[in-house]
Each structure stands twice: as structure tokens, then as C-alpha cells.
């Protein structure tokens, strides 16, 4: 009895296993540090933004009053002015407009998916929507600039750069966010409510519209806000398509510079040093705060307002509402052509049919966009594709130019990113899930990691550049690029690892612990092997996302890197930034090369995603618990 007890006791109290104990403690501390890195990074980001903003506001050119209320943003020239309102306005028009377009479409699509689509349709459409979400924004920006924007120019007299095309394309990025979260929210509504409504003799459409969607409203609103945060933080489309002239206008047909686009302009080096660059800190801080607040709002609504509680309204308001309602009903009954129940029923079925058709179209629409996008890129880019293109070096002559060092740059970049991000992300998750699951500090850590995922990529890139290149003199090289991307990829890796660990049943842990294994031994031998497929899937997906990112490495990559990087301190060029430079090139031949490079990038991403999906599929089939 006694010996049994001692082996299952807490290991750090076991006097016979000192060696194991020290190792255990060491590992625990390392994991703790990994988990805490996100806090340091977040603190650095906030500190750097604040410090830069202070410097700007306290500097000779900066003035808080002008910044927040000035209507003129003119960072260069003899008499620069820094009124952020034009940038804010463009951000509102582009980001808000995109969300406004995406919301009804995304909601309708999720309604069709959750309520009307069979399993077969779901199994096809959901991965396609995920694929849509995985298209790098630089590729969509290319498409917007050369395919959507001309439509607005020709048919609506828009300017060359216009916010409308940016809006459309960003809405395509927002739709998958709204669809996937709203679909979750709608399917989570209890079947009891659904049954309760159907049992009253209502059609499925009536049930969906009156009971299910209202019950899922908090999740739906949350999804819209997350989508809005994404739209507001989008950089590449805004830069390439909406323009880079700050312009205080509501009209989407005109050019406008968003906050992200201004920061990208700084990244490109188009901005004279001095106050104009310092202003980027203030813009970055504002952007950071806005996206943070939007996301926070979304999370609060999703978490705390489930079940759609009604607000208490003032009796006066209630009476007025009731009077209005009575009036409206009278009008309806006068206008009504339904003479009897039969006609009414026919009408109800007609509404159901219409609802089904409309929501179906909203689901298909984004997929049509996806196929047209792919078709279009293939048509433009394929002619430029050749072995020479893949194996030769960039050149001033389009017919000789190739992307060999660029591909290698991306491969090295993503490999190094993996080497940094995976151990940290997985380690953090192990710490949070296995070692300190429910403490206050781990909840705080989780929150911080979560928030890191919401920092707009251009802010990441800018701050990363400032910290790594200017503060720590790492240099504009492979290493600093990887570090930036690693911290962007980290949250997804952490979250998916935690999910994978979560899915390993506790009995596996108890069995090993019961045999006297330490916590780490248990995790290493019994938990991690079973969670491995989930960890790999999450890691591959987040790395593929990082591979397609442009904005965060815009500050780091350089056109002067003519050769593949030979070491981690070498300069480099990556595919997304190459696409960016070629898209903005004056010569049309180079724009074709951009499309060809997009094809290469998409092919690599598709392969990575395919591998991830295959792993997920195989383990789902093989799972035995």
C-alpha cells in the first residue's frame, strides 16, 4: 500500500528520483518561457508603438490636435500635414464597405450550409471556402487591380486606383470568416429549439428565419466583427488597388489611402525620413487599437450574449412600437391577396423556395469568384511559365527574368520560420494544456496569444522591422523575416496544438501517471504521439498562411538580393514580395510574370494544404478512441 502511494504521489516530492526531478523542472521552465514569449512580444509591440507615437506627437511636426482632427494628410513636401481623418475615412470606406458586402452574403451562405445543404454538399463546399480563405492577399490584389478595377473604370467612371474594387475583393476575404463562424453558431443552436418550432407546423425556412438565426445572433455578430477587423487590417489590396493618395472622400469610386496602405508606403521606402516615418507609429498605434477593440467587441458579444436576450425598453417606446406594429398589420391585411389558408400555404412554400434559392446563390457566388480567379490567373500567367522561368535569376529584361532565388528565398524563409515557430508554439500549448491548465496566469497567456493573432500584418512587419533591424541590429535578412513570420504563425500553431492535446483522452495520461511516469514523460511518450497529426495539420496550415504573407516582410525583403540566401544573415527576396514589385512594375511584361509567380505560389500553398488535409483525413479514419 505504502509503495503504491509513493509512486503515484506528486513527483517533485519523491526523494528517490532527484535526477528525473531536475530534468522535469528544467523542461517545465523551458515550456513556461515559450508560453511567455508571446507576452514579451506583445509588450514590445505595444511599447514600440507607444514610444514612436510619443516621439511623433512631441516632435516639431506632430500635434495630437492636428492628428485627430486635421482633414489633410500630406506627409511629404515643404509643409507636411498629418491629419489622420482621410486615412481613417478610407479605412472605413474600404473595410466597412467590404464588411457590408460580405455580411449578407456570408450569412446567407452559412444559412444554406447549416440548414439546407446535405452532408455531401457541405463536405465539398466547406473545404472550398477554406481554400478561398487561404488565397494570399497579394494574389487577390493582383486580380483586383487588373480584372475588377477596369470594370469600375469602364462602367462607373472610377479613377485608376479606386476604393470600390478594393472593397469587393476584401469582401471576398471576409466572407469565409463570416461563413465559418456563423455556420458554427447556427449549427450550435440546439435541435430542441428547431424541433419546437417545426412541431408548430412551420416550414424549415420559417424556423430558420424566426428561431434559429435569432438564437445564433451573438455568434453571427461576432463573426461580422472579426471579419471587420480582418478587413480593416488588410494591407496589400488596399495599397495596390485603393491607391496611395490620402483623400477625404466617401465615394468608393475615388482613390483613397487606408491606414494600412500608408504603412505599406513607408515600408516601400517611398516616404522621406523624419516626421513622415514617425507618423507611421501613430497610424500603427491607432490601427492596432481599432482592430483590437473590434475583435474584443466581437469576442465579448459571442461569449456573453448567448440566447438573444431581449432588451428592456421604456414603456413609451414599447407602446409606440406596438402602435406601429398594429398599423403595419392592418396595412398588410388590406394588401394581402391571400384569401384563404391554401393560398397562404402556397405563399409560404414559395417563400421557402425563394429563401433556398437566394441562400444557395450566396453560397455559390464566392465559389464562382474563386474559380474565375483561378481561371484568370492561369490564363494570364501560364504563358510565362517555363523551366527557365523557374530556374533563372531575376533580370531587367522580362524575357530573361526568372524566380529561382525568390523561390529559394521563400523556402528558406518558411523553413526557418518553422524551426522557430513550431517548437515555441507547441511548447506553449503543452505548458498551457498539460502543466498549468487552469491558473489565472495561463488564462492570461492564452488571451495574449489569442490577441497576437489579431495584430494587423503590416503592424507586425513595421514593428518587427523597428525592433529587429533598428533596435537589435539583426539586419534585414532571413533571420529577422523568419522571426516576424514565426510570431505571426505562432497563435494558430498554439491553438491547434492545444486542440490536438485536448482530443487525447485523459485515460491515456492516467495510465502512464499511474505507472509512475513524470508529467513530462507522460506527455512525451503517451500524449504527444497521439496528438502529432493534429499538431502537424495546424502547423502546416499556419506556415502556408505565413508563406503567402506579403505585408510583414515588405520592410525586410530587398530587390538587391540577386542570389538565393546562403545563410540566415543573408538578404533575400520572397515570392509574395516579388509579386508585389512586379505587379507595380510599369512594364506589362512584368505584370505577366507576377501572374506566373502567383501560379507557383498557389501551387506550393495548395500542396501544403493538401498534405495537411490528407493528414487530418487519415487520422480521422484511423482514430481508435
Amino acid at each position: 500500500m505504502v509503495s503504491l502511494k509513493s509512486s503515484s504521489q506528486k513527483d517533485d516530492e519523491n526523494p528517490f528520483q532527484k535526477g528525473r526531478n531536475i530534468k522535469e523542472k528544467l523542461i517545465r521552465s523551458v515550456l513556461f518561457i515559450f508560453a511567455s514569449l508571446a507576452v514579451i512580444v506583445s509588450a514590445l509591440i505595444i511599447f514600440t508603438l507607444l514610444e514612436g507615437s510619443f516621439n511623433f506627437f512631441l516632435g516639431p511636426e506632430g500635434s495630437m490636435l492636428e492628428f485627430f482632427f486635421g482633414t489633410n494628410w500630406m506627409p511629404s513636401g515643404g509643409d507636411p500635414s498629418f491629419g489622420v481623418l482621410p486615412l481613417l475615412m478610407a479605412t472605413l470606406v474600404v473595410g466597412g464597405g467590404a464588411t457590408l458586402i460580405a455580411t449578407p452574403i456570408g450569412l446567407a451562405a452559412s444559412i444554406y450550409l447549416a440548414e439546407f445543404a446535405g452532408d455531401k454538399v457541405r463536405n465539398i463546399v466547406k473545404p472550398l471556402i477554406e481554400m478561398l480563405a487561404g488565397i494570399p492577399s497579394i494574389a487577390l490584389a493582383y486580380f483586383a487591380l487588373f480584372t475588377i478595377s477596369p470594370l469600375f473604370r469602364v462602367h462607373f467612371g472610377a479613377s485608376y486606383f479606386n476604393m470600390a474594387s478594393a472593397m469587393i475583393v476584401i469582401s471576398i476575404m471576409v466572407i469565409p470568416i463570416i461563413v465559418s463562424i456563423s455556420d458554427d453558431a447556427i449549427t450550435a443552436v440546439s435541435s430542441e429549439l428547431e424541433d419546437g418550432s417545426l412541431a408548430l407546423g412551420t416550414t424549415r425556412w420559417e424556423t430558420t428565419k424566426n428561431v434559429i438565426v435569432p438564437s445564433a445572433s451573438s455568434g453571427i455578430i461576432g463573426s461580422v466583427l472579426l471579419g471587420l477587423a480582418r478587413a480593416v487590417g488588410e494591407t496589400m489590396v488596399a495599397t495596390l488597388v485603393a491607391g496611395s493618395v490620402a483623400n477625404l472622400t466617401f465615394s468608393p469610386l475615388e482613390e483613397g489611402q487606408t491606414m494600412t496602405a500608408y504603412m505599406a508606403q513607408v515600408a516601400k521606402g517611398d516616404i522621406p525620413p523624419g516626421a513622415a516615418i514617425q507618423a507611421a507609429f501613430a497610424v500603427g498605434l491607432l490601427l492596432f487599437i481599432i482592430t483590437y477593440l473590434i475583435r474584443l467587441g466581437g469576442e465579448l458579444i459571442t461569449e456573453h450574449f448567448t440566447g438573444g436576450k431581449e432588451k428592456k425598453s421604456h414603456p413609451f417606446v414599447r407602446r409606440a412600437k406596438e402602435r406601429l406594429e398594429r398599423g403595419w398589420w392592418r396595412v398588410k391585411s388590406i394588401l394581402s391577396t391571400e384569401r384563404d389558408k391554401v393560398a397562404a400555404l402556397k405563399n409560404r412554400y414559395r417563400k421557402q423556395k425563394m429563401g433556398k434559392v437566394i441562400t444557395f446563390l450566396c453560397m455559390i457566388g464566392p465559389l464562382l469568384f474563386l474559380s474565375y480567379f483561378i481561371f484568370n490567373i492561369l490564363r494570364k500567367g501560364l504563358p510565362g511559365m517555363s523551366i527557365t522561368f523557374l530556374t533563372s535569376y531575376p533580370s531587367r529584361f522580362p524575357d530573361k527574368a526568372g524566380i529561382f532565388p525568390v523561390i529559394m528565398g521563400s523556402i528558406y524563409l518558411i523553413s526557418l520560420t518553422m524551426v522557430i515557430a513550431v517548437p515555441i508554439g507547441v511548447g506553449a500549448a503543452i505548458y498551457l494544456k498539460e502543466f498549468a491548465p487552469d491558473k489565472f496566469y495561463s488564462r492570461f497567456l492564452r488571451r495574449i496569444i489569442h490577441n497576437l493573432a489579431g495584430v494587423p500584418s503590416i503592424v507586425f512587419g513595421f514593428i518587427g522591422y523597428i525592433i529587429l533591424v533598428e533596435m537589435f541590429s539583426v539586419g534585414g535578412n532571413l533571420l529577422s523575416g523568419s522571426i516576424i513570420l514565426a510570431f505571426m504563425a505562432l497563435p494558430i500553431i498554439e491553438v491547434s496544438t492545444e486542440e490536438a492535446l485536448e482530443s487525447v483522452p485523459d485515460s491515456f495520461r492516467d495510465a502512464a501517471r499511474g505507472l509512475g511516469a513524470t508529467k513530462w514523460e507522460t506527455v512525451k511518450n503517451n500524449v504527444l504521439p497521439n496528438a502529432l497529426p493534429g499538431i502537424m495539420t495546424g502547423s502546416i496550415l499556419s506556415l502556408s498562411r505565413a508563406l503567402g504573407e506579403t505585408a510583414p516582410i515588405l520592410f525586410i525583403t530587398t530587390m538587391f538580393a540577386k542570389n538565393p540566401p546562403g545563410g540566415i544573415f543573408d538578404q533575400f527576396m520572397a515570392m509574395p514580395t516579388m509579386i508585389f514589385y512586379w505587379t507595380t512594375h510599369m512594364k506589362e511584361e512584368f505584370q505577366v510574370l507576377a501572374a506566373t509567380t502567383i501560379i507557383v505560389l498557389l501551387a506550393i500553398l495548395l500542396t501544403m494544404n493538401g498534405i495537411a488535409i490528407y493528414i487530418r483525413y487519415r487520422t480521422q479514419k484511423r482514430r481508435r478512441w
Binding site: L193, S197, G201, N210, S215, G308, W329, L345, R348
Partner: protein, 271 residues
């Protein structure tokens, strides 16, 4: 189902209220499958109008499934298949000609767990009538009041009809769900363990209510509680593993069961 078929349905479903034989719900050789799971095995019985019929039996024996067959709620479960038929008022309820949407207007249902919509009390009750075409606000007010009175809830909530239904107690919520079912004026009410989530006081309120309801409605109830079945029902059906073991007047079933299996169950020796 097409609208013309629906039209036929409505016409026939609405005529003739108290023709007793027509009113009987006749279940004939009913088989229900969930995929490969044969959940109801060749069950036949007649449910008498304006009486309370109780289904009892151990968990998983198919009580809910039978109930959900009567108002075609099983149609909503994708892998569920039904064979045999249920006759009511000269209709074959399981045939394609019966539109479940109309059928459910005539055969209401109350579920095990109270499931009020996250709306106000008023809107919960008004929901069905509104969809079924009540266009006049005063008429709707009357319906709400009458349904709540019939469900013995009116006095408790008349001053807070605008409050969210989720703020009510469990027993009140269940009576609200009954009121919600009554508001569309069904002919039959199916109740699937309506009291299993309630305390004794709330339960006795609902039992009293059911006694009153059978004056105007055919009531079918599933219950786990033997005393409840004995107390309130006129007929009792005992089921076991998907089969109907015994069916008869409640008194006979409880006092003089013909089958050993039945006796074992009601004396609490298993189940």
C-alpha cells in the same frame, strides 16, 4: 409536397370534428428504422380520441420514436425511415400526400426539455398563430390570453408578457410550451415526458392541466413515471425493445397485466 396536395389536405383535415371513429389515431404495422437500427417493430394500436393514452417502457424502447412518427417529426431526422401507416380522419399520415407542415398544425407536440424560444412570453405564444396567418393584433392578443389561461399560466405571467421567456422557471417554461402548442388550435397533443425536468409541484400542475385538456383534445403522453401514467391516463401502452408488449385500459394494465414482462416492469423489477 406540392401545394395542390396541401390544398386537398387542408380541406379534408378541417371537416368533421367529433366523428369519433374518424378521430381515432390508428397505428397499423408501424416499423421505424434509424439507419440499420430497427427502433419500432411492427406496432399496431388505436389511440382513442378525447382520452389520455400513455406510453411507458424502459429507456430506448421507442416511445419517443412512436410519438414523433404520429406528427412526422421523424421526417426531420435524415437517416430515419418509416414503414406501415397511421390512419387518422381518413388519411394515411405517413403517405406523401400528407404535408407534415399542415399535419403538425393539427397534431401539436410538447417536448421533454422545455424549449421556449429566446423571445418574449408573448412572442413565444404568438409565433405559431402569426405564421399560420392571424393578421389582426387584437385577435392575436386574445389567442395569447386564451392559450395562457388554458395552460394555467396566465395569472403568473399576465403582467410580464414582454419579458423573456427564458426568465421563467422550468415548470412555467413547460406550461408556456404547452400554451404555445395550444395557440395554434391543434386537435391532438403529443407530450414526450413533459414533466421529467420538473419538480413535484410543477408536475402536479401539469397533470391537472392534462386532465382538463382531454375535454377538448386527444392527448398522448410518454412518461417514465409509472405513478403518473396510472394517475392520469385512460389507456396505457407498454413497450419493450421496440415492440408493443401490452396495450389496454390503464386500470387493467396496472392491476392485472397479462404479460409477465409488463408485470416485471410496473412492479419495478427492471427498467
Amino acid at each position: 409536397m406540392s401545394a395542390t396536395a396541401a390544398k386537398r389536405e387542408i380541406k379534408t383535415l378541417e371537416k368533421g370534428k367529433k366523428e369519433t371513429t374518424e378521430e381515432t389515431i390508428s397505428i397499423k404495422n408501424l416499423d421505424v428504422y434509424y439507419g440499420d437500427n430497427h427502433a419500432i417493430k411492427d406496432v399496431s394500436l388505436d389511440i382513442s380520441p378525447y382520452k389520455i393514452t400513455a406510453f411507458i417502457g424502459p429507456s430506448g424502447c421507442g416511445k419517443s420514436t412512436i410519438l414523433r412518427a404520429i406528427n412526422r417529426m421523424n421526417d426531420e431526422i435524415s437517416n430515419c425511415r418509416m414503414e406501415g401507416d397511421i390512419h387518422w380522419r381518413g388519411h394515411k399520415l405517413l403517405s406523401d400526400e400528407v404535408d407534415p407542415v399542415i399535419l403538425r398544425e393539427k397534431i401539436g407536440m410538447v417536448f421533454q426539455k422545455p424549449n421556449p424560444f429566446p423571445k418574449s412570453i408573448y412572442d413565444n405564444i404568438a409565433y405559431g398563430p402569426k405564421i399560420h396567418g392571424v393578421k389582426d393584433k387584437d385577435e392575436l392578443d386574445d389567442i395569447v390570453e386564451k392559450s395562457l389561461k388554458d395552460a394555467a399560466l396566465w395569472d403568473e405571467v399576465k403582467d410580464r408578457l414582454e419579458k423573456n421567456a427564458l426568465d421563467l422557471s422550468g415548470g412555467q417554461q413547460q406550461r408556456l410550451c404547452i400554451a404555445r402548442a395550444l395557440a395554434i388550435e391543434p386537435e391532438v397533443i403529443l407530450l414526450d415526458e413533459p414533466c421529467s425536468a420538473l419538480d413535484p409541484i410543477a408536475t402536479s400542475k401539469i397533470e391537472d392541466l392534462l386532465e382538463e385538456l382531454k375535454e377538448d383534445y386527444t392527448v398522448v403522453i410518454v412518461t417514465h413515471n409509472m405513478q403518473q401514467a396510472a394517475r392520469i391516463s385512460d389507456y396505457t401502452a407498454y413497450m419493450y425493445l421496440g415492440e408493443l408488449i401490452e396495450f389496454g385500459e390503464t386500470e387493467q394494465i396496472f392491476e392485472n397485466p397479462q404479460k409477465e414482462n409488463t408485470e416485471k416492469y410496473i412492479t419495478g423489477r427492471f427498467g
